[in-house]
């Protein structure tokens, strides 16, 4: 480094670094809103992928944990934000901190386990620097720095995720100190999140543990699938539906009247409002009864429409990569691991006040359907892998992809928040997901992002309390 006496006279600046976003107008153009088509480079190109990590995953609010996973001070879980390894830990004042899981000395990973209870802190295996649950440096092995005046302990720590906030039990983090509040980021999409998070007094919890698996696909294929692709269900999942229900996927008798897609800032949900279609696929009659009763009771809390959505044939994705299925009660994150790989983490959510046997049936039901050995999920992975892999062909990846189902089905009448389209068999939400993606590529500031012409619903200011 240097070989004279001035060396080391300036101290390291150990303040956490939160880089500013950039603008990638060329990448934004890969989404052609006019023609409802998407350029395959969004799934394959390494530069596009690196831009995603910077523009999307280093800025957007990303799901970290459910409150129930870390109830007590010192309880922690490890997760990812994009490709960054993150520790999420409950603080003594009951707030939640999230930190980059990398020692500021040589960068070694500090925490190697999936989760822990009542931890007092984290000690790096390399040279023994230790950190409190607030991320701050507590000491070093043997106290070797204690008499060193240049060692500014107070400035050193695990780099914190700039913002951590929660919504009805779900904890999110954002690296960007400038990001608007979580509620602003979600916008009126909270109306739809409440279908799962607030259909019963007492709130929700995650069942312990998580199933993790690797799929060799681009992260956007599963995200766009959950944001609004019920189209695939009757074909891809014919085998699973046949095995469990003895028939095809049923979209409900009142499909034409009730089914819809809604999108807000790229977050999306599609539902047939058929009450129990998704729950039925878990294969336990008791669960169907439970959801019928719940739906009846939930009318007071949620109103007629959302009460019908609790167990309905439906799916949802919170931009960018946090998905869930009402009725089947699986929540999951598709962590990017390169343009052609993801790590999928799957949890089961239940109402805290649900009887034990109901919780147990949800746990088993998710295992039967939406886990690696599940009769539905098995056939999804195969599709997403080949949708990704086939683009290794140079000529193949020059060919456009078609996203035009339901163009012209905008529903301006429907009394629901968001950009609403008629019918759930539609690709409207997927188009809006990619529009949001393009906005993150195009804009370097939140003012533009939150006032976008395309993904911001015009009815933003309306109130949706039933």
């Amino acid at each position: 480094m240097c070989d004279n006496n001035s060396c080391g006279s300036a101290r390291p600046n150990m303040k956490p670094v939160y880089p500013k976003a950039d603008k990638y107008p060329e990448f934004a153009k890969l989404v052609d809103e006019e023609k409802s088509q998407v350029d395959r480079r969004v799934f394959t190109d390494e530069e596009v992928y690196q831009a995603e990590l910077k523009q999307i995953f280093a800025r957007a609010w990303l799901f970290l944990a459910h409150d129930s996973q870390i109830p007590n001070p010192g309880d922690f879980i490890r997760t990812s934000m994009g490709e960054d390894d993150i520790i999420v830990v409950r603080q003594r004042d009951k707030s939640v901190g999230a930190f980059i899981n990398s020692c500021p000395h040589r960068g070694n990973r500090v925490c190697h386990v999936d989760s822990g209870k009542k931890s007092r802190g984290f000690i790096c295996n390399y040279h023994g620097w230790s950190f409190g649950i607030d991320g701050g440096l507590r000491g070093t092995d043997g106290g070797v720095y204690d008499k060193d005046e240049t060692f500014e302990k107070s400035e050193i720590g695990l780099p914190p995720v700039a913002q951590v906030q929660s919504y009805k039990g779900l904890i999110f983090g954002a690296f960007d100190p400038e990001a608007p509040s979580l509620e602003e980021f979600l916008g009126d999409f909270t109306f739809y999140l409440d279908i799962m998070l607030d259909n019963d007094q007492g709130g929700t919890e995650f069942i312990g543990g998580a199933i993790k698996s690797e799929i060799s696909c681009n992260w956007k294929f599963p995200a766009e699938n959950f944001v609004g692709d019920i189209l695939h269900a009757s074909w891809t999942h014919q085998s699973g539906a046949q095995a469990i229900l003895g028939g095809g996927v049923d979209l409900g008798k009142r499909y034409d009247e009730l089914a819809f897609q809604a999108s807000i800032y790229g977050h999306g949900i599609e539902s047939n409002l058929d009450k129990v279609g998704n729950t039925r696929t878990l294969g336990y009659p008791d669960l169907v009864d439970y959801v019928f009763d719940l739906s009846e009771k939930a009318k007071d809390r949620l109103g007629e429409v959302r009460a019908r959505a609790i167990g309905a044939v439906s799916s949802s994705n919170v931009f960018p990569n946090f998905s869930f299925l009402p009725g089947q009660n699986t929540f999951r994150v598709w962590h990017p691991r390169g343009p052609d790989k993801i790590e999928l983490v799957v949890w089961t959510i239940v109402n805290k006040n649900a009887p034990d046997h109901i919780k147990e049936q949800y746990r088993k039901g998710v295992m039967m359907t939406f886990s690696p050995g599940g009769v539905f999920e098995m056939d999804d992975g195969e599709n997403w892998e080949y949708s990704t892999k086939v683009n290794e062909g140079y000529m193949t990846r020059q060919q456009p992809l078609h996203y035009a189902l339901g163009v012209g089905t905008l529903d301006e009448e429907r009394d629901l928040p968001g950009i609403v389209h008629k019918g759930s068999k539609n690709e409207a939400n997927q188009r809006l997901f990619y529009s949001r993606w393009a906005e993150f590529m195009k804009y370097d500031n939140w003012d533009d992002l939150q006032n976008s012409k395309v993904t911001l619903p015009q009815n933003k200011k309306q109130q949706w309390s039933d």
């Binding site: 190697h112 386990v113 999936d114 989760s115 822990g116 209870k117 069942i207 312990g208 543990g209 998580a210 199933i211 993790k212 698996s213 690797e214 799929i215 060799s216 074909w235 891809t236 014919q238 085998s239 699973g240 046949q242 095995a243 469990i244 294969g283 790590e343 799957v346 949890w347 089961t348 147990e360 746990r363 088993k364 295992m367 039967m368 886990s371 690696p372 050995g373 009769v375 999920e377 098995m378 056939d379 992975g381 195969e382 599709n383 892998e385």
Partner: protein, 184 residues
């Protein structure tokens, strides 16, 4: 009857079964593997699986040695926690021509080894430990390999050994495969 409690993994067995029983159960495990390799799932259910089967494969967590919770726990996330009802549904899916993850067919090998057979406190119930390597290959070059250990209870009834308990402990934390389109 702790040996029939799915939630309690084997502790130390020392009472080895006699040579004939060991031979018969070893043959049984190999025959089972051969049936699974050829995707004979209905045959597997009918000939090898007891009506009271408890078939459990927990999620293996990475936790510190001093974490009292251990690395897996019955009642938490799992890949399988099946009774005959759930196994039957899974088998039904395999029989559908539109089970796309299995059409074209997957090529399977189940390698079974380290077999140990013990008597238990219940007559005609044998504890069998084994390890497996499961290889699945599909299409051109898709290959998934899983290793793990199994703890079985096999019950001898009317001259036939049937599986009543199977615990499957794989060595992976993140399943390094897109799916689990097999039984282990």
């Amino acid at each position: 009857m702790t040996i029939l409690d799915i939630a309690v993994p084997f502790s130390n067995f020392s009472d080895y079964a006699d040579a004939l029983t060991e031979r018969l159960l070893t043959q049984r495990l190999f025959a089972e593997a051969r049936i699974l390799d050829k995707e004979g799932y209905e045959e597997w259910l009918a000939d090898f699986i007891d009506e009271k089967i408890q078939y459990w494969m927990p999620d293996m967590e990475t936790r510190r040695r001093d974490d009292v919770r251990g690395t897996f726990c019955y009642g938490e996330a799992a890949y399988f926690d099946d009774s005959i009802k759930e196994l039957t549904i899974r088998v039904k899916r395999y029989n559908e021509p539109s089970a796309w993850a299995d059409n074209p067919a997957t090529r399977h090998v189940h390698l079974i080894s380290n077999i140990e057979v013990f008597n238990t406190e219940i007559a005609n119930h044998y504890a069998v430990c084994s390890v497996f390597e499961n290889i699945r290959n599909r299409n051109m070059a898709d290959q998934d390999v899983i290793h793990g250990r199994r703890e079985d209870i096999w019950k001898l009834e009317n001259g036939v050994f049937k599986l009543v308990i199977r615990r499957i402990f794989i060595v992976q934390n993140v399943l390094l495969s897109k799916n689990l389109n097999t039984f282990l």
